[in-house]
């Protein structure tokens, strides 16, 4: 199939979805003209302007404060998660005793869904930024650390031996051979972990947040203001797309060899 055809069909699927929604909302409003569960496009635009409007009392805009809150929590959580996973995965891949020590703990915690452990996080870390960071980090560390550790195990021993005949020190083997070799896999893993990280974050925000996407969606659904909830969901989707493309772009820039089809 040609590229153009793929594009046309893809657009058609989105348009069809929008058309079906329009049909559904018209139908619902014929039954109940005051319905807010399936808002018409008119109601939807009112909702969107509410999202962007300055609040009369505080002057804040929902979208600004929610995006800032959610993004900083996600960034903070992913940041420490990646940092700890990197240190853990690298040391497990390099030193046998680290592997023996951390592997059981890691596989044990990997089995517990972080959302089930929220109460633990609330009691340990309160309900501030710290807690969101901890819950995201806890959720992504097992997968990321294991990706790094397994990636290191995969490196052919000849590559390491060869480096040593070229005069590499242990530090150089870790940073000049092992690290660049697993970097693209690590970036892939981070990209795929953004989804789960969002799940943990939104769940925590729904439960205890006082600002942020999860909080806003919970509050507005209680009020049956679906004309606010749907645009928020759309923003989340767009945001996910953006992150995905951003990570791919970073991978292309940092690992051009991998993007060109080289295998590690």
């Amino acid at each position: 199939m040609s590229r153009k055809a793929t594009w046309v069909i893809g657009t058609a699927s989105i348009l069809l979805l929008l058309a079906l929604y329009t049909r559904l909302s018209i139908h619902q409003h014929m039954i109940n003209p005051t319905d807010t569960t399936i808002p018409t496009w008119m109601q939807m635009s009112e909702g969107i302007s509410k999202i962007f409007a300055a609040q009369p009392r505080t002057g804040d805009r929902w979208i600004v404060e929610d995006v800032l809150a959610t993004l900083s929590r996600l960034g903070f959580g992913l940041g420490i998660g990646v940092f700890i996973a990197f240190a853990l995965g690298m040391s497990m891949g390099v030193w046998r005793w680290m592997e023996a020590f951390f592997l059981p703990i890691l596989s044990l915690f990997a089995k517990i869904p972080p959302t089930a452990m929220m109460a633990v996080f609330f009691t340990l870390f309160g309900t501030e930024l710290k807690m969101y960071g901890a819950i995201i980090a806890f959720g992504v560390i097992p997968t990321l650390a294991q990706t790094i550790y397994l990636g290191l195990k995969d490196i052919a021993e000849e590559r390491i031996d060869k480096a040593r005949t070229l005069g590499a020190s242990t530090t150089e083997i870790i940073f000049c051979i092992m690290f660049p070799q697993i970097l693209p896999k690590l970036l892939d893993a981070i990209r795929l972990q953004i989804g789960p990280a969002m799940v943990f974050l939104i769940a925590a925000e729904v439960l205890v947040g006082d600002v942020g996407f999860g909080y806003r969606i919970r509050l507005q659904s209680r009020l049956l203001n679906m004309n606010v909830v749907y645009p928020y969901l759309a923003y989340l989707a767009l945001f996910g797309f953006g992150m995905d493309m951003g990570m791919r772009w970073i991978q292309c820039k940092l690992c051009p060899w991998y993007a060109k089809g080289g295998v590690s």
Partner: protein, 332 residues
């Protein structure tokens, strides 16, 4: 056993054959597995030695002992570059190695791969980081890359300089791998079945490239200078060992260990070590010339039914002494 003990060995031209690598009575075992037993030989500077053996007989283990990647269980492996014998205790840039696969780093382009050793050996991470600040590293790096590019061009890889390994053919990859090892100017170059995965024509091409290196040796010796390249070529192709090497060694587990009082095989040992004909890089492969030797090796090294007495066929240095053969160990 045949050895260089009766040194100094003087060529007709008047200069000495200098030993560069000595493996004396080396044995190697992994846990209870006996891999090598009583391996004993000396290699002269500038030789290309073809090391033959059936697969799994310990050729790679021998190479790893010399590279210093593993240590022998007993016996000594030592090098002698400047008249002083030094035991090998670990890998070093004086002994380069080329593998059949995994030799190149997939995240580096050809030129970066070749320059990699210079970077690793000559600088350290803190020095490079500080060098980023002062600009010293950028200047040095440019020199390294220029040097690497020159070497690649010399090896006929001018078009592949900025390509990644997966964009190259197998033959080109091995050329880059050899350049990567040679840029370190290693005293000894270890090749572990480097051409095993290549097609016939490419393989011959690369074999001739090694013969060019041997010609450089002969030229250097003729001018009274030390020969620059000493090469151990591990292979399972008999003709390759004879064609490229000036000496062929065979490792085998099928020797007369029963007669020596062992109840099970104590490991492979050198059962064959003789002079091989020397070819020029432009000579056609003359199979006639090594037909007899090929049969002899096939029987002594590869036939599982024979029980070889190693001392009968390890006669390289005796042959040199009676001036049998040509090349760097002989009159030039």
């Amino acid at each position: 056993m045949d050895s260089m003990q009766a040194l100094p060995l003087v060529r007709k031209g008047g200069c000495l054959v200098k030993p560069i690598l000595t493996v004396s009575n080396a044995s190697f075992q992994v846990r209870k597995q006996h891999i090598l037993h009583g391996v004993d030989f000396t290699i002269g500077r500038g030789q290309i030695v073809g090391v033959l053996g059936a697969s799994g007989c310990g050729k790679t283990s021998l190479l790893n002992l010399i590279a210093g990647i593993t240590r022998s269980t007993s016996g000594i492996v030592s090098v002698n570059y400047d008249g002083q014998e030094t035991e090998i205790v670990g890998p070093g840039p004086d002994r380069g190695i080329v593998y059949q696969a995994y030799g190149l780093y997939p995240f580096l382009t050809s030129v970066e791969n070749v320059a990699f050793g210079l970077k690793l050996h000559l600088t350290t991470i803190p020095r490079r980081m500080w060098g980023q600040v002062t600009g010293f590293w950028r200047r040095l790096r440019r020199e390294h890359l220029k040097h690497a590019e020159e070497l690649l061009v010399r090896f006929g890889l001018g078009d592949a300089v900025h390509k990644y390994p997966h964009e190259l053919s197998g033959g080109m990859r091995q050329r880059v791998a050899i350049a990567q090892a040679l840029i370190m100017k290693p005293q000894i170059l270890l090749l572990d079945e480097p051409f095993g995965a290549l097609d016939e024509a490419t393989r011959e091409d690369l074999q001739r490239m090694l013969l060019v290196l041997y010609e450089e040796n002969i030229q250097a010796v003729g001018q009274g200078k030390p020969a620059p390249h000493t090469i151990l070529l591990v292979t399972h192709a008999i003709s390759e060992a004879i064609f490229v090497g000036d000496r062929v060694m065979g490792l085998s587990r099928h020797w007369n260990w029963e007669e020596q009082g062992f109840s099970s095989c104590p490991g492979a040992t050198v059962v064959y070590d003789k002079v091989a004909p020397v070819f020029n890089s432009t000579d056609s492969v003359d199979f006639e010339k090594f037909f007899g030797q090929k049969n002899e090796i096939a029987q002594l090294v590869f036939d599982e039914k024979v029980r070889v007495r190693p001392q009968d066929h390890c006669t390289f240095w005796s042959q040199v002494r009676v001036n049998h053969g040509h090349g760097v160990t002989h009159d030039v």
